[in-house]
Symmetry: C2
Subunit: 383 residues, 2 copies
């Protein structure tokens, strides 16, 4: 159900012929209201794709009536023609559903540096509007897939209202393995400002902490639209919690489907002097290719973990760090701890715990291992 779990939304996923595979490639989600409140966060990459440049401007009024997403081409680094294509796509959607172009968000994903076939996109928009349905969530979630092997959907129910979402990609809002696109809908009656605060709170603790390969996409977008169709104004805290749950669920689905990964790794830094310290430490380990290849090799190599921790500015005593892998404290006081033979790295889920002994803050960063399959997929992708 995902984006059509909430009342007031219709969605569709159709095939416009943008993908060589002939699989669905245009998604459309329309908010029939009564409210048009919306909020979005975008990639922090300064080299942004045209749909991001468009959508960033368009969301400023705090409303959106529709979002159109295409796979099969990122429309990034395609010059003024590329921006015009994004603009005309928004205009076509707007015209067909009777709103202003400014109320249409646009997302693209796929190869960058190649102009989209605008004729195909516009014909796809026509077909998607025709196909719009209150049961269209699944089709929409399928049509945004690129290297994804499964579609990603999540739903959480509140008291008389629902939050549902769909996602594609495997990465994060800042760093990204591949472009991450997320659309979330709710029938709760939430104003744009509350939506924006809730979305930033939710993404900062979920997608922002997913660091699959340290790279940062040009197209990442997370949009939330509220129809208000339930007539219920939820408690802001409860709403943020539900939104965070949907984001968390989708984030872990992205992690599980990361390109070529054998392991899903949760790196938790505990007893940090600040949450920022805990995040810095987690990210530094998540970005160490030596650590990531070690996990692929089923080697609980805590030395490579300490070496990464040592590159950060976090508060700690370099001679008194503890590290656990899958709850076995293989490093105690920056020296040898329990036997590494006690660590079983066969399962897909891996936990790393780093004890900084410097305070009472903690945070978790999720990442994947670095595998032959990752190298294969990313060396062969565009040729």
């Amino acid at each position: 159900m995902s984006v059509t779990a909430a009342r007031g939304f219709r969605a569709a996923g159709v095939t416009a012929g943008l993908k060589d595979s002939g699989k669905p490639d245009i998604s459309l989600v329309v908010n029939d209201g009564p409210s048009a409140a919306a909020a979005a966060v975008f990639t922090s990459n300064r080299c942004k794709a045209h749909p991001v440049l468009w959508s960033e401007q368009a969301i400023k009024g705090g409303t959106a009536r529709a979002i159109v997403l295409n796979s099969g081409g990122a429309n990034c680094y395609t010059g003024p023609e590329g921006f015009a294509a994004t603009h005309r796509t928004a205009e076509r959607v707007a015209e067909l559903i009777g709103v202003g172009a400014i109320d249409v968000q646009v997302c693209s994903t796929g190869l960058i540096g190649r102009l989209l076939d605008e004729g195909k996109v516009l014909a796809g928009v026509d077909a998607a509007v025709e196909a719009l349905s209150p049961e269209g969530g699944h089709d929409a979630a399928t049509a945004i897939m690129t290297t994804d092997t499964v579609d990603k959907q999540a739903t959480v129910s509140g008291d008389g209202w629902v939050v549902g979402g769909m996602a594609k990609g495997a990465g994060m809002l800042a760093p990204a393995l591949a472009t991450m696109l997320v659309v979330i809908t709710t029938d709760a009656d939430v104003d744009a400002s509350t939506l924006d605060g809730a979305l930033r709170a939710a993404t900062s603790r979920t997608f922002d902490r997913l660091d699959s390969d340290g790279c940062q996409s040009t197209n990442d977008t997370v949009l939330v639209m509220a129809s208000g169709a339930s007539g219920v104004v939820p408690d802001a805290g409860e709403f943020t919690e539900a939104l965070t749950k949907v984001c968390h669920d989708l984030a872990l689905q992205l992690l599980a489907d990361a390109e070529g990964a054998d392991h899903e790794i949760a790196i938790t830094t505990v007893s940090a002097a600040s949450e920022a310290d805990a995040l810095e430490v987690g990210r530094s380990v998540a970005r160490s290719n030596l650590f990531k290849t070690a996990i692929y090799g089923k080697d609980p190599n805590w030395g490579r973990i300490l070496a990464s921790v040592g590159t950060t500015s976090a508060q700690f005593d370099p001679l008194d760090l503890d590290v656990a892998v899958n709850d076995v404290w293989v490093c105690r006081g920056s020296g040898v701890g329990e036997s590494i033979d006690l660590v079983d790295l066969e399962p897909r889920q891996v936990s790393v715990t780093i004890d900084l002994k410097a305070g009472d803050q903690s945070a978790t960063i999720w990442t994947n291992d670095l595998t032959h399959a990752y190298v294969h997929e990313n060396s062969a992708y565009s040729t």
Copy 2:
């Protein structure tokens, strides 16, 4: 010749049995003077190995009479016992050659988190002192190898004096694929303060710009010792230039021998507003796994380059960047430039040029591609 090219030095490389392979594993370089001036730079990792903690203190007086290096164990994260082992190694060398322990630098490389067999190390020191010879440079260069496939040596002649050096590893002073150890000797008469300035100038433009895999070793050390045996006091600028040449030569040898690499990549950022901007941009591209896998796949994927540039704080217009791969300007004005089919990525040497159009500064960062062999070597290394 390397470290024994300059007059006043003796060296040796012997087998102490620290390596399972039975290959040489202890190197010793002794400065017979008359001068004992020395300078060193070390890893900026805060989690440093015991020999680094020792040597950092020992070099503070600006003198060194000898350096002893072992492969077959990094002596890192080995607790107080590990530090004591380093100290006793320095004391043994000092006693045998008749100097103070404070004048003996110590380096270790190999697996971390495992205590060295101190008995073997000390016996190896005894054998190395026995074997010291003014022709021992090659043996010394061989005994520091770990995953290196060839030894690395370089010599540059000045006007009546010589600078020679040896290196092991594949990485850099800050980030490192594997520990980098470098010993440089000269018979020029250079005081400690001038040596220190020259060494920092030389390493900042050579080893510091070599970023093979973005990881940062716990053991990296670059030491320079001046015997003054030539009796010549060189011009400081000429000496710095010669030292930089030796460092540059050794850095490129490290790059060429990086674990599992198929390509040596020079990333040059031009027309930057500052050298710092140029370096930040080069490093960000050098650390992008998506870029590095693309080069492995012989794909001149400029989109992945722009996506990395976009993550930096350098001054540029995101919509007006040019990128060349092997001198073909595949990206012009942040859009499609010359055909990527013109780029031949079969050769091992790759150049990437990024034009920021923001000033007149430039800098080059060297890196390698990310290959199946890298994943293999680093996932299988310690198990």
